[in-house]
Subunit: 235 residues, 2 copies
């Protein structure tokens, strides 16, 4: 694989054209490999302790790396575009992200979903790109385990029997959330909240009671508090 091509994978446009993505970093790649994540190619310098498909010199790694200080390993995977099965959202717990643009938040929410045993994470097309290095890095090994799907939320959530529950500033107390056997919890962007389309599909909203003065909570923080409350009442 050419240096130019590997370097180009930092851009979403090129990732989508090529159907490939790249992740770097000893800890991250090792975690994903240990979690059974399928990579097509693993470029590594002699410093790396894992198994490389493509041994490279530190000089070549410096040329392909997306970082100012290159790590000893860069792994390339094929983008998998999972699709929702019919009726899939009617069972289990789903986190849906409505325009969450910060890649650190998207990755952290994937990790939150993994911790709380959430069955899947939906990303609206306006979210940070699932295959960006920053998203994968923030999700850590959870990227290999959590079922994450990019899909327009309006179509996915319309007509569901399972309740669609928004996280908003004017909902009912999240601590009184019912023990929903199946549910979709929607987290909006910190700046703009939930989109109008999603708001029209909500069964109800929940709010994390505020004692102090902050205007909002970080999206990943809010997602975790809602998941914790739902797990507390529901198991």
């Amino acid at each position: 694989m050419e240096i130019q091509l590997l370097r180009s994978l930092r851009d979403k446009k090129h990732r989508e054209e090529l159907g490939l993505y790249a992740v770097e970093g000893d800890k991250l790649v090792s975690e994903l490999v240990a979690a059974g994540h399928p990579f097509e190619q693993i470029f590594a310098t002699p410093d790396w302790r894992g198994e490389a498909t493509h041994p490279v010199t530190p000089e070549d790694m410096a040329r392909v790396s997306h970082f100012p200080t290159p790590s000893p390993v860069l792994a390339v995977g094929r983008i998998q575009r999972a699709e929702l099965s019919p009726g899939e959202l009617e069972s289990g717990l789903t986190l849906a992200l409505d325009g969450v643009q910060d890649p650190g938040n998207v990755g952290t929410i994937i990790r939150v979903a993994d911790w709380f045993g959430i069955d899947r994470v939906l990303l609206s097309p306006g979210c940070a790109d699932l295959y960006s290095q920053k998203v994968i890095q923030s999700s850590m090994g959870s990227f290999a385990r959590v079922r994450a799907l990019v899909t327009p939320l309006g179509a996915a959530l319309a007509g569901l029997r399972a309740p669609v529950i928004g996280c908003a500033l004017d909902g009912r107390d999240v601590r009184d959330i019912p023990a929903e056997p199946a549910a979709v919890i929607v987290i909006g962007s910190e700046g703009r909240g939930l989109s109008e389309e999603v708001r029209s599909l909500l069964r109800y909203s929940v709010t994390i009671p505020r004692v102090g003065s902050a205007e909002s909570l970080n999206a990943a923080v809010a997602a975790a508090v809602v998941c914790d409350n739902l797990r507390r009442v529901r198991g």
Copy 2:
């Protein structure tokens, strides 16, 4: 103030030598000003809608900015080193950060503390620098409202009557946390957990029950879930 000096404030070493820090960005500076945060100098181009003490040209702003794309405003404040009052930790709720190195996490935790009405945040000297742009940016307006103190945790927490409660992987279920009238909740670094010194001072630890497979939770996420549970049982 010289361009060279303003530029140097991106480094902790220079901030400490000069006793000054700088924050940039229309939204952030406007929020802090609105929250009554005291700045000594506000450099702004004609594009800024707020009040500037030092009008500058876009060309000068490009020279002082810490960002590749300069914002219309850069505000300079004096570093305030607050100190704990005797007995202060015996009342109210304290979040203590033990070596939380990621500045985004430190800032997000300050915002979490503001949301849940936590009385103060302690940072061990090994935490990310409270006055870095990234910490202030992640805390948003909460930086102006939350009492944050940098202090060695061993000395601050030794001999307290209020319980020191660790957030760890092997504690009691956080959902059964008692309604402590006063408490210090300690959050460790994601990589290394709590330091040995702090562990020896804990009354007990709490754990966020895990249903799935993630190895850990983000530090800010964990702090928020513990705060939410304590507020739920305690008010």
